[in-house]
Symmetry: C2
């Protein structure tokens, strides 16, 4: 089947892309609004970008009313934000945090999620998360016609739960993907967990 994207509406393009660029990692982003309230929202247009400096990127769209997403507003105002990688046990609250609340109403409070201080970060992290990145705004680029806001974050510190850290066959420190148990984002309303993990040698 051939799909000509210029014959589709942006909403149809979106549906097509989220069903095919898979699996997507999820950035579960905690940010702070001007009143000190904590916002929490998941984004799956999300990638690592570079190691020097350590950069991640999240592409954010707009709310149904056309205004920028709260996360983008908060990162613009406050600079710092926290990105967490949700795991299987957090699937339901993570999905629930994608609700569009009035700006200023906190998903953290509404969902009854516990936060804990995050060393190396002014903002807290969710107590139950296994991986959290302390980020500062590196750059926000607008791109496209809507436009999307591409939030580039520089990662300063990384929390990794001790339960997912071990060693590999050669005794080197390793973060175990199966113990992290990350949620995979698929198409509309669909998620998955990881199946069997395969190890392949890098070709020479």
């Amino acid at each position: 089947m051939l799909i000509q994207l210029d014959q589709l509406s942006p909403a149809q393009v979106y549906l097509t892309m989220i069903q095919t660029v898979i699996p997507r990692p999820i950035a579960w982003v905690l940010s702070e609004n001007a009143d000190g309230g904590l916002n929490l929202a998941p984004f799956s247009y999300f990638t690592s970008v570079s190691s020097d400096p350590p950069l991640i990127m999240i592409s954010t769209g707009r709310k149904p009313d056309g205004n920028p997403k709260d996360t983008r507003v908060n990162v613009e105002q406050r600079s710092d934000f926290v990105v967490m990688i949700p795991h299987g046990a957090l699937l339901e609250p993570m999905n629930a945090s994608s609700v569009t609340l009035p700006a200023g109403e906190s998903e953290v409070i509404r969902l009854g999620l516990e936060t804990t201080p995050f060393e190396g970060s002014r903002l807290p992290r969710l107590a139950d998360c296994r991986v959290a990145y302390a980020c500062q705004r590196f750059e926000i680029l607008e791109m496209g016609n809507a436009p999307q806001a591409l939030i580039f974050g520089q990662v300063s510190a990384l929390y990794v739960d001790d339960s997912i850290v071990g060693t590999d066959a050669k005794g080197r420190q390793k973060i175990h993907a199966d113990r992290l148990d990350p949620v995979c984002r698929l198409g509309a309303g669909e998620y998955a967990l990881l199946g069997e993990i395969k190890r392949l040698a890098r070709p020479r």
Copy 2:
């Protein structure tokens, strides 16, 4: 465990990030060099960016010798490239295509992969792929100190194998994630396939 990234080398930062920003989708990129040879390489610093226009982004680093990756050079020269989403049966050749060959030597030929014309694209796609995007260079941004080259591609046409297209519970066309069977990129040398797919309602 707290990891202060500014105390790590870029190579250590990379190892930390690839083990935690997971699962990553894989852009298996076919591009053409100045001599008409086909280059094929996988990238997992890859995300959808926007729907209007349809944009994807791939962040590319450098070869061990410090030169830009062939994919970046080719996209800069030729503009058009093809991104495929590899599935489980293609895991071995996809991993093998990450080998660093001398520029001009084709991974497609070396691995004996079959190509086929791709309607809507000057370049072919791999005959066995289930999803392929015909892309044109939208922008290449350099970012960071190495620097990384962020290739933004505008997608014009999308090939979807008929075998993965069906309908959802409401009779609307749907691309089935389990039939696509995408490869998930994890940390060093590790891949996974999808586990059980879960469907959650969007919260209101």
